[in-house]
């Protein structure tokens, strides 16, 4: 469903991604781990071309993402995205945050968009906040609204960019629960996170990145019990021994 073939990316002279090869199948949950600055988020943001790649091939649903002629807006409607800082629209109510893209980008009627929005708000467990403004919600609630917003365009793929990193510890669980439910329903997901518990429990595959390269690729059982690469071993030992 998502295929990276020898993808490189540069910021000027600095190489952020080096020779990325990765294939994500339909319904698969891939968790990307690695120290900060390792290029995880950049790789994720290439998938819907919030970042341009410099060379190599990147396809989503057999459509070249890195082709200038690709209709980006059409492609992006198939890919939902959840950000570290939620990025809800502060001037719009929760319900209007969710219905905006379906109405404007998909051309869905207002009534239908509102119905869909309520369905997903129920699903993430905060239907009662439909008429609140984002600033009246806790971080965990805001992120659940952001997930509902991502789902409302009915994407085939969901991208998560450190979705719990900006949350108070006690709110992490409610967001991860929503993501777990989504994974169980068979959504194709690529998740950049530091939540090892989530990776262990939900991931079909774990990708470990360092210095812009994919260093190790394994099932969660293999990765957490016996990481092959030294850099991954060091990373895990630092996480577990503090």
């Amino acid at each position: 469903m998502i295929t990276f073939h020898e993808v490189n990316k540069f910021y000027g002279d600095f190489q952020v991604l080096t020779g990325i090869n990765l294939h994500v199948k339909q319904g698969e949950v891939v968790v990307v781990l690695g120290p900060s600055g390792s290029g995880k988020s950049t790789m994720l943001r290439c998938i819907n071309r919030l970042e341009d790649t410099s060379s190599g091939e990147l396809t989503v649903n057999n459509v070249r993402v890195d082709d200038r002629k690709t209709d980006l807006n059409k492609l992006r409607r198939k890919i939902g995205m959840v950000f570290q800082h939620f990025n809800l629209y502060p001037h719009k109510k929760v319900i209007d945050n969710i219905t905006l893209a379906p109405i404007k980008a998909l051309g869905v009627s207002k009534a239908e968009a509102a119905e869909t929005a309520m369905y997903y708000l129920e699903k993430v467990g905060i239907a009662e906040k439909a008429n609140a403004y984002p600033s009246q919600l806790s971080g965990g609630q805001q992120q659940r609204v952001a997930i509902a917003r991502g789902l409302a365009v009915k994407p085939e793929i969901m991208l998560f960019d450190e979705p719990t990193s900006a949350l108070d510890p006690e709110m992490v669980g409610e967001v991860l629960d929503v993501m777990k439910a989504l994974a169980r329903e068979g959504m194709t997901m690529v998740v950049v996170t530091h939540e090892m518990g989530f990776a262990r429990e939900v991931a079909d595959r774990v990708i470990f990145m360092d210095q812009g390269k994919i260093v190790e690729e394994a099932t969660p059982e293999e990765f957490f019990s016996a990481p092959k690469e030294e850099r991954a071993q060091l990373f895990l030992s630092r996480l577990l021994n503090h």
Binding site: N48, L50, N73, K74, R76, R77, I79, G80, M81, F83, H85, N87, L88, Y89, P90, H91, L100, A101, K104, A105, L106, Y133, S135, A146, R149, G150, V153
Partner: protein, 217 residues
């Protein structure tokens, strides 16, 4: 002290000037807002040629005296065959001069909306224009109101440059009154009061709006 006979005797002249000042200010306000918005959009368009033009326009206009801009429209244009009366030339100069400052205020407002806002909208498949209209501009307008109201107050005060091209504004008639009566102090104090009648409500209105929006965000 204040000589109130000046005000009563010359009230019709003051009034004519006052009304012309309002007319010039309103025209220049609308014109400079539209022109400034277009220039601001040029500057953030990402199209090299437009960006270059927008930057050159802003940097050139706002770094020369307004007097020279106005003189260009009243004396410069006739030399290439375009004749304007004092009021038209003055109002046009005022519009062009103010638009450079307004362009900067609007550009700064748009660019201070966090990048994540447009990323969220674009990643959901909305177009650049849809993102601007529904996500960026509604947030930018709140950030732009304070600097914009400052520019509009400056515009009203700067409209006094119309006097040097015989633009029949409030300052022009005040000069006329003082040269007829040789009363300088009172004449210009009354003129200042007429300007305050226009500018004070604007400052007040801006601060009310600002407080109202601060509550909602």
């Amino acid at each position: 002290m204040l000589d109130f006979s000046i005000l009563t005797e010359y009230f019709p002249l003051y009034l004519e000037g006052f009304l012309n000042t309002i007319k010039a200010s309103v025209l220049a306000l609308i014109g400079s807002f539209l022109l400034g918005t277009v220039i601001a959009i040029f500057r953030i368009s990402g199209v090299k040629l437009l960006q270059w033009f927008g930057t050159a326009y802003v940097e050139f206009i706002r770094n020369i005296p307004i007097l020279i801009v106005v003189l260009f429209f009243s004396w410069g244009l006739p030399s290439i065959g375009v004749k304007l009366d004092g009021f038209a030339a003055g109002t046009l100069g005022l519009t062009v001069y103010t638009s450079a400052f307004i362009a900067e205020a609007i550009r700064a407002g748009i660019q201070s909306v966090p990048k994540g806002q447009s990323e969220a909208a674009r990643s959901a498949g909305m177009t650049y224009i849809q993102t601007m209209i529904h996500v960026i501009l509604p947030q930018a307008i709140k950030l732009v109101i304070p600097p914009l109201s400052n520019q509009f107050i400056n515009l009203i005060k700067n409209s006094s440059v119309l006097t040097i091209v015989a633009g029949l504004d409030l300052m022009y008639f005040s000069d006329k009154i003082s040269s007829e009566t040789y009363v300088i102090f009172s004449t210009y104090i009354f003129a200042a009061m007429f300007y305050l009648v226009l500018t004070l409500p604007m400052s007040y209105g801006a601060s009310v709006l600002e407080r109202k929006w601060a509550k909602n965000s």
